[in-house]
């Protein structure tokens, strides 16, 4: 079915395309992928989660950190292109926020990031926020204030008999400038209040963190050990997996030190000279992965290491379901 796109959004995207390389959700059959678009009509506004995570745009699979010349490592001074990541889901913006925390002191990440405009989108903003308050959820206060974005576009469902409306939010001075340049003035400004809610780190996250940390002898890991292929597709699909390796390449014209996205399911992960590997069983690997998501990230950054997007569930060839597994682990008794 052909999508009906609000003319104001179309006009906004056209203006973005004049300045930025725009990456946005693009539909292929029943799936949506984050891809480069050249025209507004290519953008899918269904709100369907993209199959690929957006991390490749702000932390590429391989990036050059240094040029090697005369035995020295010379930092790269690339002019990063102006990029707009358009139509990111709230969950993907949460993943971006984690990357911003992890790579806060990383010059390569920051140089790239400062030239990327992040534009979130939600297709099903409720028209009555108060109604959602019963679930302790107010989108502006409880969600938008705690995620990083430059612009957020919300499609707000119309009340009975009324048409849906589009609401624009700015989340940064750059976002405000872009909206104003695009002739949009009726936007609300959201002041970023930090990644953690005013009431402190999420209690469910802390409880799960404690339980996963104490779960090494739980039978779940033996079950997963038997079925997991350690193919690593989950970490590639995961928007929050951020581990990496360094790799030096020497050739006559193009010697460099690169950073590559790592994969804790691969056998070279953590391997030391002589061939010893700490993660020498599938059970250890999958436990390591869950420990990263649910123990180390909450401990280090006070935010969850899993945004609950479900990409790993959809991509897993043997049907390992992280949501189901965390429900199992959440039944572990708390320490009194």
């Amino acid at each position: 079915m052909k999508q009906q796109v609000n003319p104001q959004i179309n006009c906004f995207v056209s203006k973005l395309l004049n300045v930025y390389f725009v990456y946005a959700p693009v539909r292929h059959g029943d799936k949506v992928f984050a891809r480069e678009v050249k025209t507004p009509k290519e953008v899918d506004w269904s709100g369907q989660l993209t199959e690929n995570p957006w991390k490749e745009f702000f932390l590429p699979h391989r990036e050059r950190l240094f040029n090697i010349s005369g035995g020295k490592l010379a930092p790269i001074k690339n002019q990063e292109p102006l990029v707009a990541c358009l139509g990111m889901n709230i969950l993907d913006l949460k993943a971006l926020m984690l990357f911003d925390l992890v790579y806060a002191n990383d010059i390569s990440y920051q140089d790239r990031r400062k030239n990327i405009v992040f534009i979130g989108f939600s297709p099903d903003w409720p028209n009555d926020y108060k109604r959602l308050k019963v679930f302790s959820h107010n989108f502006e206060e409880d969600i938008l204030e705690h995620i990083n974005f430059d612009i957020f576009i919300a499609k707000i469902a119309g009340a009975k008999g009324k048409k849906e409306t589009i609401k624009f939010y700015s989340g940064s001075s750059r976002g405000r400038e872009i909206l104003e340049c695009c002739g949009i003035s009726d936007f609300a400004n959201i002041q970023f209040a930090g990644p953690i809610s005013e009431t402190g780190p999420d209690k469910r996250m802390l409880e799960l963190s404690d339980k996963v940390g104490r779960s090494a002898r739980h039978g779940l890991w033996n079950t997963l050990d038997e079925i997991c292929l350690a193919c690593g597709k989950c970490t590639i699909a995961c928007p929050t997996c951020f581990c990496f390796d360094f790799q030096d390449k020497i050739n006559p014209e193009n010697s460099r030190r690169d950073r590559l996205q790592g994969n804790c399911f691969y056998n070279d992960f953590g391997k030391v000279a002589g061939g010893h590997r700490e993660l020498d069983t599938v059970k250890k690997k999958i436990f390591f992965w869950y420990t990263h998501k649910f123990v180390r990230v909450p401990r280090d950054y006070e935010v969850p290491g899993c945004v609950g997007c479900g990409r790993c569930i959809r991509t897993c060839p043997v049907g390992i379901d992280i949501a189901k597994n965390t429900r199992i682990l959440s039944k572990i008794k708390p320490v009194k």
């Binding site: 240094f66 930092p75 010059i107 940390g213 090494a216 990496f244 390449k249 420990t291 401990r299």
Partner: protein, 273 residues
């Protein structure tokens, strides 16, 4: 913004062959300002390497008291990079980042009976601790040094044994010594069994995981409390900053939260040891 992955050039000022596969390399930052700014604790490590060869984590083998002039690394030839590092000669240069990790907290050893136990090349980070303790910079009540190694050819810091034996209790045990070896024969656990160790002793232990497994049992039999045991762990490390995940276990990163951990802190963590 500082590039946290930018290593700094160091120049080799002295190389000593320590064992059949290990050289002690004395290094100095090419920039005097870098050398002046280089302060570290015993037990910390650096990332050393070459452009085109990557980096590897190596424990600092010299006392921090010489840090303003130079630092030393004892590097065992176990892979392609450490093989190249073992070819270094005075005047050569390499690239260094660091120091990284927490190092030993000397306050924990003050006025204590300190037992340091090293296995194989794990002995390296214990050297600055021993040097500082013997020089009175760490005021311990007593110092016992237990060193387990494969054979005479792999023993490190042999030139310092006489001094260490004079000023402290030095116990060396070799697993597969030559027929000429007049010292003790066996594993480090045998040395722990044989020697008198106070149950109140504070123990610092560095060695391979298999050594920890058995040595910890023997220390328990001697009545050593877990909270008085400090271990230095070894893992693959890339970033040194607790980001890349290679050295992670449980909630910790060896590069950032360690490499020195209290045994109580890690004994319940799966796959820590």
């Amino acid at each position: 913004m500082i590039n946290i992955y930018q290593p700094k050039p160091v120049r080799v000022i002295k190389v000593t062959k320590e064992s059949i596969d290990t050289h002690l390399i004395r290094l100095k930052f090419v920039s005097a300002a870098d050398q002046k700014a280089f302060a570290y604790l015993p037990g910390q490590f650096v990332q050393i390497g070459f452009a085109g060869w990557g980096e590897c984590p190596i424990s600092i083998a010299s006392s921090p008291t010489v840090a303003s002039k130079y630092f030393e690394l004892a590097i065992r030839d176990v892979g392609s990079l450490t093989h190249k590092l073992n070819q270094l000669k005075p005047g050569d240069t390499a690239l260094v980042r660091g120091p990284f990790g927490n190092g030993f907290d000397a306050d924990k050893f003050k006025d204590q009976e300190l037992l340091v136990i090293g296995g194989g090349c794990g002995f390296v980070p214990l050297r600055p601790l021993i040097v500082d303790a013997l020089a009175g910079r760490i005021k311990t009540k007593k110092l016992q040094i237990f060193y387990g190694c494969l054979n005479e050819e792999t023993l490190l810091f042999k030139k310092q044994f006489a001094e260490w034996n004079r000023k402290a209790e030095l116990g060396i045990i070799l697993d597969r010594p030559s027929a000429d070896w007049k010292g003790e024969n066996g594993l480090i656990t045998d040395l722990i069994k044989k020697r008198e160790i106070s149950p109140e002793a504070v123990v610092v232990m560095v060695g391979p995981p298999v050594m920890y497994k058995f040595a910890l049992k023997e220390l328990e039999k001697k009545g050593i409390k877990p909270e008085n045991i400090w271990l230095s762990l070894e893992r693959r490390m890339y970033c040194g900053l607790g980001v890349c995940q290679h050295c992670a276990f449980g909630p910790y990163y060896v590069c950032k939260d360690g490499p020195v951990f209290n045994y109580n802190q890690i004994k319940e963590i799966p796959y820590a040891l």
